[in-house]
């Protein structure tokens, strides 16, 4: 069997990171990573090169407007969007992890290898409608993440968080699998689009078996986006994992789950008529639940990482509201939101590395006064937090603006009001971050400890933070370019919506 050039073009974006993932463990075979500095640098360079190669290849595809395919793998605009999204997040995570793992004193090549495997899985996950390939992608990106959470082995809570994430994740995966099996059994097709058509043709849309299948499938997605009530793993897993990995999980896992859902939901679920309506109703209820639980729980956190974890739960709520509105413009809003969310969350987690907070030292107390000591980082922090709260002129405002506009336009005024109230609550805990950075002086003891320690040096993480801040800030002024040129095209040309 020979592979044609277009088929290669669809495969290569996935192969680059996979290749890098395979190469890195080989590099470190007979070397002690703890002592050989150039091996560390080389591993990081290989990881970055793999990500960069994939990125360049996909942007080339995007510019050329090509949408190659390889059997069940469709490297269309939406998949390219997701590829760019994941690779940028991965690049930032890799850069931040260089600094962070040196702070932790735990630099291991396998971390990068696992991260790259996860990237491959994510790209696969969003590039298909075939249930089996979808499941393959899901497992390929989830399994490395389980171990990444626990990667710093000398920290006890690492193993705990990893285990929690793994056990709950395994249940969610099996539910996802069961849902797919039910749909396959009822329709006789593994491709979810065809399955939806066949189910509708047979008039089985209201069949409890189909409903159960669709609901279980949805559960798999909702687990990955950490929507309530499937969110409990999130704070523990984030708290346990190294900062860059937590940032990567909060952005990429949620992002690809939403993008994959975007491929399935409007075409397949809505295609099944009654099922789509019920799934939308379920999403509305769960979105409300997610917003309420995420925001109210975030209010009372004393640990910054747990606050950010609950904040990421609440952002899943806003994104789900986009699905509830269910218009093409709302889906554009969801993708736009993800772009800004990538920058602001990678930036926010990057700040923890930049400020040199290691281990459990991630409470608001540990941030006090740091904004004045590191003005550029303080400025970036203000940009991220205000954007997360949805205050203009930051980019985060426009994500909410688009989603709320469509919610109001489709008659969900009550949900929109709840959404804005939720973001009012969220403003309080995001402000707490800024209160600690700017409005509170460090305690005398913290000052004394800080003077004993060497100055924190995190140039690479600092660079990613600045880049993220620039994206968030500029995103508030080029919103039309991002929404029309990027998000909208991914939908219209990739998914065939909005034509």
């Amino acid at each position: 069997m020979s592979i044609t050039p277009t088929e290669w073009a669809a495969l290569l974006p996935l192969l680059f990171p996979a290749l890098g993932a395979c190469l890195i463990p080989l590099m470190a075979l007979d070397r002690d990573q703890a002592t050989t500095k150039w091996i560390r640098a080389a591993m990081y360079l290989v990881a970055l090169a793999a990500v960069a190669a994939g990125f360049w290849f996909i942007t080339d595809l995007w510019k050329a407007g090509a949408q190659p395919g390889f059997h069940q793998l469709h490297m269309d605009r939406l998949a390219q969007f997701s590829g760019i999204f994941v690779l940028v997040a991965a690049a930032m995570a890799i850069l931040q992890s260089w600094d962070h793992f040196h702070q932790e004193g735990w630099v291991k090549g396998e971390t990068l290898s696992l991260l790259l495997f996860s990237v491959t899985g994510m790209m696969l996950f969003t590039a298909t409608t075939n249930f089996l390939v979808l499941f393959l992608g899901l497992e390929l990106f989830s399994l490395p993440l389980y171990s990444l959470v626990a990667t710093v082995r000398h920290r006890a809570e690492g193993a705990e968080g990893g285990m929690k994430y793994f056990l709950t994740g395994a249940v969610a995966s099996s539910c996802f699998l069961m849902g797919g099996v039910l749909l396959y059994g009822m329709s006789g097709s593994l491709d979810l689009t065809t399955a939806a058509l066949s189910i509708r043709a047979q008039g089985l849309a209201a069949d409890p078996m189909v409903l159960a299948g669709a609901a279980l499938l949805l559960l798999g997605f909702l687990f990955k986006v950490s929507a309530a009530p499937f969110h409990q793993w999130t704070p523990d897993a984030y708290e346990a994992s190294p900062h860059p990995i937590a940032g990567f999980m909060s952005v990429a896992t949620k992002g690809v789950a939403f993008i994959a859902l975007l491929r399935i939901f409007p075409v397949s679920f809505a295609g099944m008529g009654a099922v789509g309506v019920r799934m939308q109703a379920a999403l509305a209820i769960l979105a409300v639940l997610t917003l309420v639980i995420g925001n109210l729980t975030a209010l009372v956190q004393t640990n910054v990482k747990r606050m950010l974890a609950y904040s990421s739960i609440s952002h899943a709520g806003y994104l789900m509201l986009g699905f509830v509105a269910g218009t093409p413009a709302a889906y554009t809003g969801v993708l736009f939101y993800l772009v800004i969310y990538l920058a602001m969350n990678m930036g926010a987690f990057g700040l923890l590395t930049v400020f040199g907070l290691v281990g459990e030292k991630t409470t608001f107390e540990d941030l006090r006064g740091l904004g004045w000591k590191r003005p550029a980082m303080g400025f970036a922090a203000a940009v991220f937090m205000l954007s997360l709260a949805g205050i203009p002129p930051m980019g985060g405002f426009y994500g909410k603006y688009m989603i709320f506009k469509e919610l109001v336009g489709t008659g969900h005024v009550g949900l929109a009001i709840l959404g804005v109230l939720a973001s009012l609550v969220s403003a309080y805990y995001y402000l707490r971050f800024l209160v600690a950075l700017f409005l509170q002086a460090p305690s005398a003891e913290a000052e004394r400890l800080a003077s004993d320690r060497p100055a924190v040096h995190a140039p690479l993480a600092g660079a990613t933070v600045l880049v993220s801040a620039a994206i968030v800030l500029v995103g508030g002024f080029v919103q039309a370019f991002l929404a029309d040129g990027f998000a909208h095209r991914a939908l219209s040309e990739g998914l065939g919506l909005l034509r």
Binding site: M402, V408, D484
Partner: protein, 533 residues
């Protein structure tokens, strides 16, 4: 220069922010230089605004800029700025108060002066942008963005309770504007645009109940900013905790944006709903007038007294707007300027005495007049203006407002006007009582008292700050027409559009004769009013 000729408003609005961002990048060690640069920038903006906005040939087209900005989710957003009769003097008030406040509080802050100046310039952009924006989403963006610098100004440089006050200010204002955003999105979705005229047209096609809900959403967002009773609770905290410069700008400009929002957007876009809700609005305004005055009376802290007096004074503004008469609305326009000048001046004066004595408690003073005669003179003039003595600005504004309310033709008009007049009396009570306890009488004999710490009278810098304010107080009191002539035509047009058939004949001059308003300024209001039944 050609770009500048066609985009003067863009320059005025964004130059402060760009400079502010540049200044923010300067290190803390050159804070004094940064402060000087910030002041010069603000001064330049003021000079340019005077030259460009007032120095225009009569009859030339109003300053306006209009360009499409972006279209997402099917809604076009325009970059539309304009200066017209409604916002001309508020814009000038803003550009005037910013450099003046910077100068007036030159030495008040001890650390991070550079960052403060930079934030001040960012705030100026937010305020100017909100004042000149003619597209509702653009207005919303500036309206929200304005919160950010003010939050930090209160939170970083404020008093002991600054974190609480800053959070309360931010969240309170945000709560109103977020709900307003939903109403805005709803209406914009119906209208397909954020242009106020188009949205007003779409609103008039909606059922009356919907219009009322939308008006309430608009009104609550603006009323929080004004602040109207019972939404005022953030104000005393914010005012008292904010540094002097923050209080001045908060009172001088930020509160005005609430009233401006009513007259620019809420009333013209929902005229019927506005008339429908005129009575509750007026009732709340009267409560604010009386309640603010009563609470001022029992304050022990001078700054808190001035803060609550703001509630009372802004109640007058809202009463004038609710009267739906030309004279009342013009009075409200003037009262907004008055309050900006007088209360701004009061906060500056309180700041000056606080810098010397490090206390603001009334009981800590007594006999200040013998220690600081120049200061006392200024304080007395400003106090009289705040009370509304004839020949000062306060009198004209309050008189027009009460007059408009009395003659409004609403059933409640006369009663409310009478009760509100009581507020004027109460205003005199709390201000004069405070003046008596602080300035007159023997010097406070206590060694630790504030009076004992007053070693110097106002220096030339402080006198230079107060002089223009006093000149304005008298100018506005003697010849108010300078400041309300521009808004006469738009206000008249606005109230004609407000479809109130039952009361229109009584409240509107059919064709305002030239100089009609001048006559009112000289106190012949009832006469000139009865000419147009």
């Amino acid at each position: 220069m050609t770009w500048l000729n066609s985009h003067p408003l863009t320059f005025l609005v964004f130059a402060p922010a760009l400079l502010g961002l540049l200044l923010m990048a300067l290190p803390q060690s050159v804070g004094k230089l940064t402060r000087l640069l910030g002041f010069l920038a603000a001064l330049a903006v003021f000079v340019l605004s005077i030259a460009w906005l007032l120095g225009r040939a009569p009859g030339s087209a109003p300053l306006a800029e209009h360009a499409p900005w972006f279209t997402i989710v099917g809604l076009p957003v325009d970059y539309a700025l304009a200066v017209d009769g409604l916002n001309l003097w508020l814009v000038l008030l803003t550009t005037f108060l910013v450099p003046l406040t910077m100068l007036g509080t030159w030495n008040s802050l001890k650390d991070r002066t550079g960052t403060f100046a930079a934030l001040f310039l960012l705030l100026e952009t937010g305020m100017l942008g909100a004042l000149v924006a003619q597209d509702l989403l653009l207005f919303y963006l500036f309206w929200e963005a304005m919160l950010i610098p003010m939050y930090f100004m209160i939170g970083v440089w404020g008093g002991d309770e600054r974190r609480y006050a800053a959070n309360k200010f931010f969240l309170f204002t945000l709560s109103g504007s977020l709900l307003w955003l939903v109403a805005l999105l709803f209406l914009a979705g119906k209208a397909g645009s954020f242009a106020p005229a188009v949205m007003a047209q779409a609103a008039s096609a909606l059922p009356f109940a919907t219009q009322c809900w939308l008006f309430i959403a608009f009104a609550v967002a603006f009323a929080i900013k004004v602040p109207l009773f019972p939404l005022h609770t953030w104000l005393p905290d914010a005012h008292v905790q904010a540094p002097t410069a923050g209080s001045v700008i908060l009172a001088g400009v930020l509160l005005k944006l609430g009233g401006y929002g009513f007259i620019r957007f809420a009333i013209p876009m929902f005229p019927q709903a506005a008339i429908h809700y005129a009575k509750p609005l007026a009732l709340l305004s009267v409560i604010a007038i009386i309640y603010g005055a009563l609470v001022s009376m029992v304050q022990r802290d001078i700054k808190k007294l001035v803060a609550y007096s703001s509630v009372s004074h802004m109640g007058f503004v809202m009463l004038g707007l609710a009267s739906m008469t030309v004279i009342g609305t013009q009075g409200a326009m003037l009262q907004m300027l008055n309050h900006g000048i007088s209360t701004g001046a009061l906060f500056l004066l309180v700041g000056m005495v606080y810098d010397r004595a490090h206390t603001r408690m009334i009981a800590d003073f007594g006999g200040v007049a013998t220690k600081m005669p120049i200061f006392t003179t200024f304080f007395l003039i400003v106090t009289l203006s705040s009370i509304g003595l004839p020949l000062t600005n306060g009198f004209v504004g309050e008189f027009w407002i009460l007059n408009g309310t009395f003659l409004s033709g609403f059933a409640w008009g006369r009663a409310y006007a009478i009760v509100a007049t009581l507020g004027v009396v109460l205003g005199a009570v709390y201000m004069l009582w405070m003046v008596k306890r602080v300035f007159w009488g023997p010097v406070n004999p206590d060694e630790d008292s504030g009076t004992q710490h007053l070693h110097s009278d106002l220096n030339p810098r402080e006198i230079a700050v107060m002089l223009p304010l006093v000149v304005l107080i008298l100018w506005m009191g003697i010849h108010p027409r300078t400041f309300v002539a521009a808004s006469e035509a738009p206000v008249t047009a606005l109230l004609k559009d407000a479809n109130a058939p039952a009361i229109r004949p009584l409240i509107l001059p059919a064709a305002p004769a030239p100089g009609a308003l001048e006559a009112t300024a000289e106190g012949h209001v009832p006469a000139s009013h009865e000419v147009h039944p």
